[in-house]
């Protein structure tokens, strides 16, 4: 579950995330059931802005303060008979003052055949670290490229015709050591016509479709997402719908 309130001006944007909830469970060994869980909530206040650097470059940056409250319990189902849930699930808090940076090169404006390239550094200096080096099976439930420092690259190309603009692209994710997250890449195709836009994205662990409608006063978007945040260990896709709306003052 996710929510975000944004206030945008011509110069900067302020966004507040009152709640962001991730909850995953995994039950193994049916004879002697063992439950692994990953539970996390996030509150965040973010200020961001962007600048155009000459004709072909743009730069964006943001600073955010967040509180991540998370727990990674691992217990036998029989433990529930002898212990209270709050004894089994112990939450930890992480407070971070973190930064995001983004740099875009508008290759198509520079020379038609060159794609547009964007590089983003997300959650720099975040206090939250992945526990993936630990051998505990519960750490398999921890989602990647969400709370921890990570990097993202996007290649895209705009094809404009009288029937609309088509925008094929690809996103890739990297961990804080710049190692590529295998199988987390996403291929996408966007389409724009006047005040209507749509995107279709697909990758090994993510499928989504978004519909976006703009008017002089209101922008509205509905995005349907099916994803496996936990990658291969997740059996079925979790489904979510995001509703985005922007009201211009």
């Amino acid at each position: 579950m996710d929510s975000r309130l944004e206030f945008n001006t011509n110069y900067f944007s302020v966004a507040y995330t009152p709640y962001y909830v991730v909850a995953d469970t995994n039950v193994t060994n049916p004879a002697f059931p063992e439950v692994s869980m990953y539970l996390a909530t996030k509150n965040e206040l973010r200020v961001s802005s962007g600048w155009k650097l000459g004709r072909f470059w743009s730069f964006g940056g943001g600073v955010a303060y967040d509180k991540i409250r998370y727990a990674q319990p691992n217990f036998s189902i029989f433990d529930l008979a002898t212990a209270k849930p709050n004894q089994l699930i112990k939450f930890q808090n992480k407070y971070s003052l973190k930064a995001d940076l983004g740099l875009s090169f508008w290759g198509q404006d520079y020379r038609g055949a060159i794609p547009n390239i964007t590089f983003q550094a997300k959650n720099l200096m975040s206090a939250y670290k992945l526990n993936s080096h630990s051998e505990a099976s519960v750490n398999l439930l921890e989602p990647f490229a969400l709370f921890e420092t990570h990097y993202m690259t996007t290649l895209s190309y705009n094809i404009t015709s009288k029937f609309g603009t088509f925008k094929p692209g690809i996103h890739g994710y990297y961990d804080e050591n710049l190692s590529f997250y295998n199988n987390y890449y996403v291929l996408g195709l966007g389409y724009d016509l006047g005040k209507f836009g749509t995107t279709v994205e697909g990758g090994p662990y993510k499928r989504s479709m978004g519909l976006f409608f703009n008017s002089s006063r209101v922008d509205m978007g509905v995005i349907y997402v099916q994803d496996k945040e936990l990658g291969a260990i997740q059996d079925s896709y979790s489904q979510s719908v995001y509703i985005t709306s922007v009201f211009r003052l």
Binding site: T160, S161, K162, F163, G164, T165, D192, L193, G194, K195, F196, L211, F213, N214, S215, S216, R217, V218, M220, V222, V241, I243, S245
Partner: protein, 211 residues
């Protein structure tokens, strides 16, 4: 020689004004990325998606979101039609210069300009009023149709009925309230003042073929 200079100055001045209106019309002309009908088409897509989404989903937040998309669609269609019929005042002013017959009689000149300037303003007022009337009428109709679906929650029904009522008031007001130029044009038409010079037709006066 003096007469030649005055004529030259007059021609130069008129040409400068004509050029100004032409440049302003080009500058204010909406730059379409794909086609001049893109706002109407994208509004139509929003209207269809909004209705299909609204009447096929059970979730109340999604129904509310799709009804906003219905609204966005109707507003965009209405604005798109208005823009395509009434693109720019400067186009009309430019036409006014281009079609100026150059009467020798001062009174005829005054009547030519006053009549046509009033017509341009009246036409803009009328287009804006009718655009608001049709847009609000369709919105009111859409909100009433949304309330007819049994799956719409009672809270949403109340909101739709309120919005339908507001839009019906706006539509009624737009139908009955005419602006000063529009009223003046209607009154003088009744008096027959404009019969000497034919009132130009809104579509033919446009300068889209001129540049």
């Amino acid at each position: 020689m003096k007469l030649l200079l005055i004529s030259f100055f007059f021609i130069f001045s008129v040409e400068a004004d004509e050029k100004f209106f032409k440049e302003k019309a080009i500058k204010d002309q909406k730059k379409y990325v794909h086609t001049e009908y893109e706002d109407i088409i994208s509004g139509g897509i929003a209207f269809v998606v909004g209705n299909v989404g609204f009447f096929t989903t059970e979730s109340t937040p999604l129904r509310a979101a799709y009804s906003v998309i219905q609204t966005v669609g109707i507003i965009n269609i209405s604005d798109g039609i208005y823009e395509s019929y009434n693109p720019s005042k400067e186009k009309y002013y430019y036409s006014l210069f281009k079609k100026y017959p150059g009467y020798k009689d001062k009174e005829k000149n005054q009547r030519y300009f006053s009549k046509n300037i009033i017509w341009i303003n009246a036409q803009e007022e009328k287009d804006r009023r009718l655009s608001r009337f049709y847009g609000s009428t369709f919105l009111a109709t859409q909100y009433v149709i949304n309330t007819l679906d049994d799956r719409t929650s009672s809270d949403l029904k109340s909101i739709y009925l309120f919005l339908a009522g507001v839009n019906m008031i706006v539509a009624g007001n737009s139908w009955f309230t005419r602006g000063d130029y529009e009223k003046h044009m209607e009154d003088t038409e009744k008096l027959g003042l404009f019969q000497i010079f034919p009132i130009p037709d809104g579509l033919s006066v446009g300068m889209s073929s001129s540049f």
